[in-house]
């Protein structure tokens, strides 16, 4: 691989320096290198470089635009220009070669061009349609009909999508492992159950903001897809402890779980997670206001791999939770305690003394914790890896405290409402210099 990259660099060198040579019919580079090798080199280039190479000469144009170079296409950078015909041309040119296509944010893409795409690019494995708001069920029907190898599908913010899409995907794409239907608010229990029954290999399931998702949908999902590792149910307000129980019982490999905004959950969820899902590394439970110290104590004791925790607005937790997290989770990197108003300096002291703090802790969010004082900052001095700390609205924190923390941890980024120190005015210094000149003269 390294060799190829070296080739690439030389190639760029040539293309810049020996532009004249390319003009001639039989350029040196074309004589020396066989087409297969050129094609091989091109396969390492990105979209922009390929398009540039395509403009060099007729033979290069054919080589650069060969379908085999276009297996992975991300059009995010060209977002604003991408219209339907572009997709149709790509589909025709790449055909079966195309494995991965990202159309993130291409809002003007509609069903017509996606149908043609599905017909021509049968081997697509990874398709990202994030934010393609015009896409509707008929795109999914075409995908289901023509693309059985589809593994990853991102339909985030495709607001037209309904249950029908999920049903046809379940029938036609059994290989699906990753699906994202965030903000598709028309999706209900029926669609998710059908999907779960058809795509048993699912590893990642994201449905942020699908408020119609309920316990029975998640139960069916958990029972049929035991391989689930990543689950995001944030904003699914109808979810109760029952769903978490089913997920924990069936999916032992779960390592990312987001339950933010599921306000009906109680400590029972945390306890069952602690019992069943020991691999959990990320847990986001912002706004789950019924969680208490007891739940987090159980969790901290058994889920020792936790790295990222978002406990924003878990208003009942106290210093005890921090003490247990400090002792039980040595890998903790990112911890958010925003709006946890009962947290005091004592809790931060426990956290600061724990093994995680010294080694791994990089981000700590303490905004809107009114009881925190400068003493907390002094306790965090030993956290060498701390890169960012949020202190918005902690009104007992002073400028001096922050300065002291900065002197110990020079690379830290402190987020607080304090105004930045104004840089010395540049105009004044130049004027002074002139005056000095005058004085010398």
């Amino acid at each position: 691989m390294l060799q190829s990259f070296n080739c690439l660099i030389t190639l760029f060198f040539f293309s810049l320096q020996l532009r004249r040579v390319f003009m001639e019919e039989e350029a040196l580079i074309n004589k020396k290198l066989p087409k297969e090798l050129l094609l091989r080199i091109f396969s390492w280039l990105d979209v922009v470089s390929l398009c540039r190479c395509a403009q060099v000469s007729k033979s290069w144009n054919i080589l650069a635009l060969d379908g085999s170079n276009w297996q992975r296409i991300d059009l995010f950078d060209f977002q604003r220009d991408v219209e339907g015909p572009v997709i149709e041309n790509i589909s025709r040119r790449c055909g079966g070669f195309l494995r991965k296509l990202s159309l993130k944010g291409c809002q003007s893409i509609a069903d017509g061009s996606m149908k043609l795409f599905a017909q021509l690019c049968n081997n697509v494995e990874d398709l990202n349609l994030d934010g393609c708001k015009k896409i509707s069920d008929s795109t999914c029907q075409a995908l289901s009909k023509h693309c059985p190898k589809l593994q990853r599908l991102d339909l985030r913010s495709c607001i037209e999508i309904t249950d029908l899409s999920l049903k046809v995907l379940a029938d036609g794409c059994p290989a699906l492992t990753h699906i994202n239907i965030a903000w598709c608010e028309n999706v209900t229990q029926n669609g998710i159950e059908a999907l779960a029954r058809g795509c048993r290999k699912l590893r990642s399931f994201m449905c942020m903001g699908c408020a119609r998702v309920n316990d029975s949908a998640i139960t069916v999902l958990a029972e049929h897809c035991p391989n689930l590792e990543v689950v995001n149910l944030s904003g699914c307000v109808n979810i109760t402890d029952e769903s978490v129980l089913r997920l924990a019982e069936n999916c032992h490999g779960l390592h990312y779980l987001c339950l933010s905004g599921c306000t009906m959950l109680s400590d029972a969820s945390l306890i069952v997670l602690a019992q069943q899902c020991h691999l959990l590394s990320t847990l986001e439970v912002a706004g789950c206001s019924q969680f208490t110290d007891a739940g987090f104590q159980a969790l901290a004791r058994s889920c020792r791999l936790l790295e990222k925790m978002d406990l924003e607005e878990c208003i009942l937790i106290t210093d005890t939770t921090l003490m247990h997290l400090g002792m039980g989770c040595p890998r903790l990197e990112k911890l958010s305690l925003s709006h946890c108003e009962l947290i005091t300096d004592e809790g931060i002291r426990h956290l600061g003394m724990s093994p995680c703090a010294a080694e791994n802790l990089t981000v700590l969010e303490l905004d809107n914790c009114p009881l925190i004082t400068d003493a907390s900052l002094d306790n965090l001095v030993s956290c060498h890896n701390l890169q960012r700390i949020d202190l918005y609205d902690c009104q007992l924190i002073t400028h001096t405290g922050i300065r002291r923390l900065r002197s110990n941890l020079p690379n830290i980024l402190v987020h607080a409402y304090f105004a930045p120190a104004t840089p010395p005015p540049a105009v004044g210094s130049t004027r002074q210099r002139v005056c000095r000149c005058c004085a010398i003269l």
């Binding site: 944010g105 009104q395 987020h415 607080a416 304090f418």
Partner: protein, 433 residues
Amino acid sequence: MHDDIFPAAEKILTDIENIFKRDKLLKDFEIVPVTVGENKSPVLHAEHTLGLQEWCVRHLYVHVYHKVMNLKRQQRLRREDPSVLSRLLLGGVLLNPDCTTLWNIRREFVVLGRFDPLTELHINAITLSRRPKSAESFVYRRWILKRMTAEPLESATLSSIIEEELQVSLMAADRYANNYHAWNHRMWVMSHIPQAQDKFYDEWTTSEIWVSKHVSEHSGLQYREFLLNQVDQHLEHTDYCLKFQSSLESFLSPLKHSIFNSDFSKHSTVSQRLYQSFVDLLDKKESCSQCPMNCKENNFMLQIGFLAYELLLVTDLIHLYPGHEALWCHRRFVLFCFFSLSKKISCNSTKESDIMDGIPLPKTQKLCVLEIDSDKCFLWWLVMQHEDALIKDCVIKTTEESYQTKLALRHEKWIKSVLICKENLSCRTQSVS
């Protein structure tokens, strides 16, 4: 790079945006003079008013400006996360509504359908609450309105939009003296949204109240002149007549005491008829059952009614608040309207007045053509009676050096030199007693 200087900027912008989302009735934005920052959100919110502490304004604007301009330079505006961009633009226009670039980016997103025009109007109104004289804000507002009214709208939405516009321009006029832009906007709304014409009489009354409170402001008076120019479009609304009866009567009162001695036979028929209806009105002879002014027969009655009302209003204001030149200027406009109307009447309605068509006269004509034979037109004679009385009154009541006297004499001179020759003004008055 600028993130490092002031990391709280994004947080403050988010706070501001959240308040906009939460409070749909927000109506005011102010900068609160707090110069020393604490570790506390500088964004304040009370009674539908948004406040921002002064210490962060400079840093915040620098952050927004650099970020937006960098994105623009790299042509990455459309690719940027819409939520980040919308709060940057919101903060930007709040802090500096005179920055055209920010408004232009907003325009771009409105065209793309990412920003909602009604929300835009709300945000714009709030920027105007702090900077009521921002021309850029008004231009943007008109642009949005033009876009919105280009498509057919429900009449309820449209009338609420008109209501809102009138309120916004009034708020801006109240907050900043001599706010030409605000009144200009009001005129634009009245003339570009056809449905706004239904509000004509309401505007007539509300602007009267405003003008009586702000006697030195020509921009408000100018709006009233704009309304006066539109009167002839509203002559079919005979229900206005009753409202002008009393003012018309007092306008005609000189007829009771003086003789208009000229030969009637010389008059045009229109003029004769008008004279007859005036006399009828004074004698309380009701020729038509509902309308005492008999305006169905005589179109000019209502127009004279409006002008008479305005003339008397200005007279009252001049007496109440001596020494305001704007009032005298406005009076000249009213006189000019009377002048062209009497010319129209005396020349018979077939011969249209050539003065008020909007076509500028050749320079030599401008001053001398404006003569009228007051022998022939009693309407002009009536007006001159009022002018004479006012000038005399002002000169007698106040001392010779006072500003009011100066203005009165200047007014007399203007009438003599521009509208009519000297003899006509002085010799036409003969007291009965």
